[in-house]
C-alpha cells in the first residue's frame, strides 16, 4: 500500500486535508465521467503546483506517429491515443486582484467528496490569501448521465474576514496537449470561436482523424440563491475564450458562479450543426436548472445501483472499494453506443492509448452482462462484429488469407495500433477471448439470434485464423502453434502456449457447433453467411482436423498442462523465496531475466481453466492452481481476480481473500504507486468478479444459473445484485445463512450448492 488517505465511507470517496504530494493521485481517484466524456478531478481555479490535466471525450482519438527503435515489417503506422480534450471546467478567480491558487495560499478545512450514490464531486476549503483575505469555497461538479453532452459546475465563494472584490474568469481552452504525445505535437486544430450572451464555443478538429467538437460554456451567477446578472469582458484568443466578471461581495455573503460545460461532437451530429445544437442544449438545460439536473443525476445513479450494488458488512474499506469499482465502470461505459468500449484507464488518464483490449471480453463483459440490460453486453459484442472487416485486413497484413480474422491487440476503430512485435503479432489469444465472450453471453442470455445475425461471421473469421496459424509438426504428429505470447506477458515468442492452443481448438469446435445450430434454426441467415464467407465443407473439415490433433504440452511427472513447451527447463522456485528487494521483478530485473525465469505475470494456464472450469475436475483445478499460483507474481492488475475465483472454487478461502485484497483497493490505496497516471478501470471488473464469481460462486455454464456462496471469515455479511435477463436477484450471505431474493418476481431456476430451486421471492439456506 502506497497511500492511506482516503477516508473510509460506505458511499463516498473522501479526502480531508490539502496535500499537494498526492494531488495527481487524487485527480485520478476523484475522476468523474458519464460514458460519453470524463474528466480528471482537476481544480476549476488555477493551480500552479504539479497537476495532470485531463478531459476526455469517448470515441475521439488521434493516431500518433509510432516511436520504435527498429521497425518490424507489419507494424501499424500509428498508435491511437485517447485525446486530451479542450478544457471547459476552468474558472480563474481573483480576490482583490490576487489569484486564488491553492499552491500559493494557506489552505484549511480542505475536503473532497466523490459521492458515488448520487454521482457528483464536491470540494470545499478555506483559503487565506497573501493579501489577508480569507474565503470559503464550495465547488460542486457533475457530468450529467441524462444529458451526456453536458456537465455543470456550481462554484461558491464566501469572503470570511472582510468584504472583497472578486473577479471570475471562466474560460474554455482548446490549446491543450497530451502528456504522452510521442513527438510533442499538438493534436487539435481550432476552427471557430463564438462568444455571445454569456456563452462561448470553440469548434476544434482533431488532426488526421478529423473529429469535430464544439466545446461550450454558459455562465450565470447567483447571490443569496438569486440569479444575478453581471457585466463581462470577453477575451478571445486563438485557442481560448475567457469571460471576466467582477463583483463586490460582502463579508459572509456567498456568490456563486454556475458554469455549464459541453462537448457536442461530430460522431453524433452534423458538423455544421455543432454550435447550433450546443446553443439549443444550453437553452434546454437552463430551463431545467442546475438543481433539477442534479436531481436527475441522483435518480439515474439510483437506477444503476438498483441492479449492481454490492453491500459488505463488517469491512467499511471493502464496502467503499467495491462501490468505487462499480461506480467507475459505470462512469466509463454506459452501454448504448456500439462505437464505444472500455479503455484500461477510462477517462482518468492517457496511458495505454487506445480504448479496447481483450480486457473487455475477458473481464468487463461479465460485469456489464450481470448488472445491466442484456443489450449492453450485446453492444459490446457488436463492437467487435463491426470491426470484423478490419480484423480480416489486419490478418491479411500478417499473411493470412481467405477471410481469416485477427482482432487487434489494442484498437480504437478496429485497426491495430500497438507496435511491439511480441504483443502485436504474437499475443493472438485475444482472438479467442472475442469468441469466448459470445459463448459467455449465450450462456447468460440464450440469445442465439445474436449468433445468427452477427456472431457466426466472427466465429468463422476467427476459426479460419486458428486453422491457418497452426502448422503440422511431423516430429510431434500433431498441430502446433509456434511463436506466441500468452496472457502471461513475461514469456514472449513461446511455442504451444497451453492457453492459446486450448482456445484455438475450442474456437474451431465452437464455430462448427454454431454453424450447425444456425443452419437448423436460422436457415436464411445460414445461407446468407455461407454465401458471404464462401465457406465450404472441406474447409470446415480441415479446421476440425487441426482441432482434433491439437498439441498440448503436458507433464506426466507433475500431472499438469505446461504453460508452454519446455516450461520445465526453467529453474522453478516459488515466489515467496524471492528476496523482497527484487520485487516487483518488472521494476528490478532486466527483460531477458524475466523471460527465462519461471515467474508468471498473470493467470495463463489458470486463465484457461477459469474460462472452461466446467471441463476440468476439481482435482485438476487444485493441481494446476498449486503448481502455478506459487510462481505467479501477480504484476498485472488482471491477475489476482482470476486466482481469487479459482481459490474460492477449490475452497482456499484464505487465498481467495488474499487475492481479493490485492485487487479491491488497488487504486484507492495505490498499491503500484501509479494511480496518478489514471485508474485501472478494466481490472475493476475483475474485483467485481472476485466477489460475484469468487465468493458468490456464480456461474452460468450451460445456460444454468448456479451459486456456491462462501464468505471470508473477516466479513460479517455481503450481498450482491445481478440483473439476470431482466430479473433482478439479490444474493445475501453471512457467516450463517445464504439468502436469495427475487426483486422482480418472475420465477427463475437457480442451482445453489449443487441443488436446484425455483426462486420466486426468497430462498434461505
Amino acid at each position: 500500500m502506497n497511500q492511506d488517505y482516503i477516508v473510509p465511507n460506505a458511499w463516498s470517496i473522501i479526502e480531508e486535508g490539502f496535500n499537494p504530494s498526492t494531488l495527481t493521485a487524487s485527480e485520478s481517484i476523484f475522476s468523474i465521467g458519464n460514458g460519453a466524456m470524463g474528466q480528471r478531478a482537476n481544480f476549476e481555479e488555477k493551480y500552479s503546483g504539479n497537476t495532470f490535466q485531463g478531459s476526455y471525450i469517448a470515441g475521439i482519438y488521434y493516431p500518433d506517429k509510432t516511436r520504435v527503435g527498429w521497425w518490424k515489417n507489419g507494424y501499424p503506422e500509428y498508435f491511437a491515443k485517447v485525446l486530451n480534450a479542450p478544457n471547459w471546467i476552468g474558472i480563474n478567480i481573483k480576490i482583490n486582484g490576487e489569484e486564488l491558487d491553492l499552491n500559493n495560499c494557506k489552505v484549511s478545512e480542505f475536503k473532497r467528496e466523490l459521492n458515488m450514490k448520487e454521482g457528483w464531486l464536491q470540494r470545499t476549503f478555506i483559503a487565506e490569501l497573501k493579501n489577508g483575505v480569507e474565503v470559503k469555497v464550495n465547488s460542486l461538479r457533475f457530468l450529467s448521465l441524462r444529458f451526456n453532452e453536458i456537465g455543470a459546475v456550481k462554484y461558491r465563494i464566501t469572503p470570511l474576514n472582510a468584504g472583497a472584490e472578486i473577479e471570475f474568469s471562466p474560460y474554455i481552452d482548446a490549446g491543450i496537449k497530451n502528456e504522452d504525445a510521442n513527438y510533442d505535437e499538438l493534436f487539435w486544430k481550432i476552427l471557430e470561436t463564438v462568444a455571445e450572451d454569456n456563452q462561448a464555443f470553440i469548434v476544434s478538429k482533431t488532426l488526421k482523424t478529423e473529429f469535430q467538437v464544439a466545446t461550450g460554456m454558459r455562465i450565470s451567477f447567483e447571490k443569496n440563491q438569486q440569479e444575478i446578472l453581471l457585466p463581462y469582458i470577453k477575451k478571445i484568443e486563438a485557442k481560448k475564450i475567457t469571460f471576466t466578471y467582477q463583483s463586490s461581495v460582502q463579508q459572509n455573503e456567498e456568490i456563486t458562479i454556475c458554469k455549464l460545460g459541453s462537448y457536442v461532437q461530430s460522431m453524433n451530429h452534423e458538423i455544421k450543426e455543432l454550435v447550433n445544437h450546443n446553443i439549443s442544449l444550453f437553452k434546454v438545460i437552463n430551463s431545467i436548472g442546475f438543481q433539477q439536473l442534479l436531481e436527475f443525476q441522483k435518480e439515474d445513479w439510483t437506477k444503476i445501483w438498483k441492479t449492481s450494488d454490492i453491500v459488505i458488512e463488517g469491512d467499511l474499506k471493502a464496502q467503499q472499494a467495491i462501490r468505487f469499482n462499480i461506480f467507475q465502470l459505470n462512469q466509463t461505459y454506459s452501454g448504448e453506443d456500439t462505437r464505444l468500449n472500455i479503455g484500461p484507464k477510462g477517462f482518468t488518464g492517457e496511458k495505454y492509448g487506445g480504448s479496447t483490449y481483450w480486457d473487455t471480453e475477458a473481464y468487463c463483459i461479465p460485469f456489464f452482462m450481470s448488472t445491466k440490460d442484456k443489450s449492453v453486453a450485446r453492444n459490446l459484442l457488436k463492437y467487435r462484429f463491426n470491426h470484423l472487416e478490419k480484423a480480416i485486413e489486419n490478418a491479411e497484413k500478417l499473411g493470412f488469407k481467405n477471410g481469416a480474422a485477427l482482432y487487434p491487440m489494442v484498437t480504437m476503430n478496429g485497426e491495430e495500433c500497438h507496435n511491439e512485435w511480441e504483443i502485436t503479432f504474437e499475443e493472438i489469444h485475444r482472438n479467442g477471448a472475442i469468441i469466448y465472450a459470445i459463448y459467455n453471453y449465450l450462456n447468460y442470455t440464450n440469445d442465439l439470434e445474436y449468433v445468427a445475425e452477427y456472431g457466426l461471421e466472427v466465429m468463422i473469421g476467427v476459426a479460419r485464423f486458428w486453422h491457418q496459424r497452426a502448422n503440422f509438426s511431423v516430429e510431434k504428429n500433431k498441430y502446433v502453434i509456434l511463436g506466441v505470447t500468452g496472457p502471461n506477458e513475461y514469456e514472449n515468442n513461446v511455442n504451444n502456449n497451453f492457453y492459446t492452443n486450448y482456445l484455438a481448438q475450442w474456437c474451431i469446435e465452437y464455430a462448427v457447433k454454431n454453424l450447425k445450430k444456425v443452419k437448423k434454426k436460422f436457415p436464411e441467415d445460414y445461407k446468407r453467411i455461407i454465401d458471404k464467407t464462401n465457406l465450404e465443407e472441406t474447409e470446415v473439415s480441415a479446421w476440425l482436423q487441426v482441432a482434433e490433433l491439437m498439441y498440448f504440452p503436458y507433464s506426466q511427472k507433475h500431472n499438469v498442462y505446461l504453460q508452454q513447451g519446455g516450461f520445465l527447463d526453467k529453474d522453478i522456485i516459488p515466489v515467496d523465496q524471492l528476496p523482497k528487494e527484487e520485487r516487483p521483478i518488472n521494476q528490478k530485473w532486466s527483460w531477458d531475466r524475466i523471460l527465462r525465469s519461471c515467474y508468471i505475470k498473470q493467470a495463463d494456464v489458470l486463465q484457461g481453466i477459469y474460462f472452461f472450469e466446467n471441463k476440468f475436475s476439481t482435482d485438476e483445478i487444485i493441481r494446476h492452481f498449486d503448481f502455478y499460483e506459487p510462481i505467479t507474481v501477480h504484476e498485472s492488475s488482471l491477475s489476482p481476480c482470476v486466482h481469487a475465483i479459482l481459490a474460492a472454487k477449490i475452497n482456499k478461502m484464505d487465498k481467495a481473500y488474499e487475492m481479493y485484497l490485492r485487487t479491491a483497493r488497488l487504486d484507492l490505496d495505490d498499491y503500484n504507486n501509479e494511480v496518478h497516471e489514471g485508474l485501472h478501470i478494466t481490472s475493476m471488473a475483475g474485483t467485481w468478479l472476485s466477489i460475484v464469481q469468487g465468493f458468490g460462486g456464480m456461474r452460468t455454464f450451460k445456460k444454468k444459473l448456479t451459486f456456491n456462496p462462501q464468505i471470508p471469515k473477516e466479513w460479517k455479511s455481503y450481498s450482491f445484485k445481478i440483473n439476470y435477463n431482466g430479473i433482478v436477484l439479490k444474493i445475501y450471505k453471512n457467516q450463517d445463512i445464504t439468502s436469495f431474493f427475487n426483486e422482480t418476481g418472475t420465477p427463475v431456476t437457480i442451482e445453489v450448492y449443487g441443488k436446484s430451486y425455483e426462486l420466486v421471492n426468497e430462498l434461505t439456506l
Copy 2:
C-alpha cells in the same frame, strides 16, 4: 543486381556519365577514408539535387536519446551514433555570376574514378551553364594515409567556349546534422571560429560526449601550374566560414583551387592546442606540397597492397570487386589505435550507429591478421580488453554477479548502446566471438604473452558469464541456456541455440586450458590475475560442470544438431520453393511469420561448424550443410561467405562460387538496393575470407598453416597474399597448378592438400 553502371577495371572503380538517380549510391561507393576519417563522395561544388552528405571522424560519436515504443528494464539510455562531422570539402563556384550546380546545367563527359592502387578520387566533367559558358572541371581528392588528419582537393576549371569571371567560395561548415537523428537534434556546439592567411578553423564540440574538433581549411590557387595569390573576402557566420575569391580566366586557360582540409581532434591533442596544431600541420603540408603528398599516398597504398592483394585472372569484375573490398577495409581501419574499431558502414554512412559489432571478431580480425602486421589484430583484441570493466558493469545491469562480463552488442566506448531486447539482452553469442578471436589470433601468432597480459582476464569474465547464464534443467538432467537469439536473427528468444551452447561450453573449457598454460608459463601474471579476479578453484569446477553437462539439441532422425530446441516443429520447406514475390522475406513477411518459419537469415549452426571445423568430420559438415543451407535465405550480408567457405570445404565448388558471387559485388552492384545508405564494410572481410579460406582453403587450426586450394571453373587463375607473422606468402592457383611463393625468404612450414612442406622460395604442385 540493382545496378550495373560501374565500369569494370582491375584497379579502379569508374563511373561514366552523369546520373542523378544513382548519385547517392555513387556517393557511398566512391567514399574515401584513411582510418582516422572518411567522407562520402559528395561534390565539392554545390549540388541542389538529392544527395546524402557525410564526413566522419573515427572515434567521435554522440549518445543520441533512444527511441523505443515500450521501455524494457535494462535498456541503455542512449544509442551511440557515428557523427556526421563538419564539412571541409565544400567549394562553391560561380561562373559569370551563375552557380555551378550539376543539377542545373548540361553535363557531359562526366567521369569518376576511385583509384584503389594509389588511393585517390577523381571527377571530371564538362558543364554547360544556363548562361552559355562551358567549363571543364577536374577535381582530385584524397585523404592522406601518412598525415591522417589531412585531406587535399585540387579542383581545376577551364572555360571552354569563352573567357569567364570565376568566383570560388571554399568553406568549412559545422552546421551539419545526422540524417538518422532520433529527435532531429543538432549534435555539435560551435566554440570558436578563426580566419586568417587563407586559412580558417572552426572548433566545435560534440554535445554530451564533449569531443572537440578543429576543422580546418587552407586555400591556394594555381594558374598555368604556377601558384597565384588572389584577394579574398571572409564571411564568418555562426557555424560556417566562407572565403570568396574572384578571378578572370581566359578561354582554355586552367585555374586551380587547392584546398587542404583537416580534422585535429581532442582524442589526440590537448584541447587548447587544437588550432595551433592545425596551423603547424598546414605549414608542414604546405612545404611538402600537393604533388609530394600524393606521391606519399601512392607509396603507402603500394605497401598495403604488397601484403594484401588478390589477383583474379579471367574475371575482370571479380578482380575489381575483391580489390574494392580490400581497399575499403583498409580505408576504414588502419590498426594503430586501440580506441578504434570497424563500423559496419565504416565512413560511408550513418546506419547502425555504433562502431563495433561481433563482425569485428568473427570476420574482420582474420582479414587484418592475415594482411597486416600482427600488432593490428592484437590492437583489435586489446580494444575489447580495454572494455572489460564496462562489460562487467553491463552484465551487472542484467543481474549477473562476481565479475561476469557481457560485451555489448553494439558499442563505441564499451557501453551497450543497442535497445531491442531480443538482441541487446539475448544475442549473447557475441560474448563467445570475443574469445574465439583470441583463439584465432593465438593459432596464427602463438602469442601467449597476449593471453598472460590481457586475454586471460577477458576469458575469466566471459566464462563466468556463461556459467551464470546457464541453468540446470531437472527435466533434461543437463545445463540449458534459455532465451537467446543466435546469429540467425530470424529466431528470437529461443532455448538451447546450438551455436550459443557450443560456444559457451568451449569458452569455459578454453578459459580453463589457458588458466593452466598461463599458470605454468607466466606464473607472475597468473598470480596477478587470480588476485585481481578472486578466482577460486571451486568456481572453476563449477564452470566445468556446466560445460560438461551442456545440452545440445540433436535430431536422431536427421543426424544433425538442431539450431535450437523444437526446431523440427516447424514446416520445413526449402527456400527454392518460396515464391519469388515473397522474397526477401524481411521485406515481405511480418515479423512473427519470419520467426515461426524455418528460414535462416545467416549461418547459425553452420557458423559454429565454420568456427570449429576441425572438431567435425567431413561427413558431419556435409550433413549439416545439406540440412541448413537449403533453408537459408542469406538476408544478411554476413551469410554467404561462411557458406562459401564450407561449400568449398566439402567440394561443392558450384555452391561455393554461387555464394561468393552473392558477397563479392554486393555494394558495387547494389544487390539489396541500399548502397545509398553506405557500404557493407564488415561483410567485405567475408568476401576476402571466401577466397582465402574458401577457394584457397587456408586454415590455421592448431597453429598449423594449411591450404587446400581449389579454383572455380569460371576463373583462369587467382592469387592472394598473406602476411604470416612477418613472412609474406603468395599463393597462386590456376586450373592446372598450385604455387606458393615465399616473398620474404624466411622458411615456413605449410601443409598443402594434406602434405607438409618447408617453403623457402617457391613450391609448385
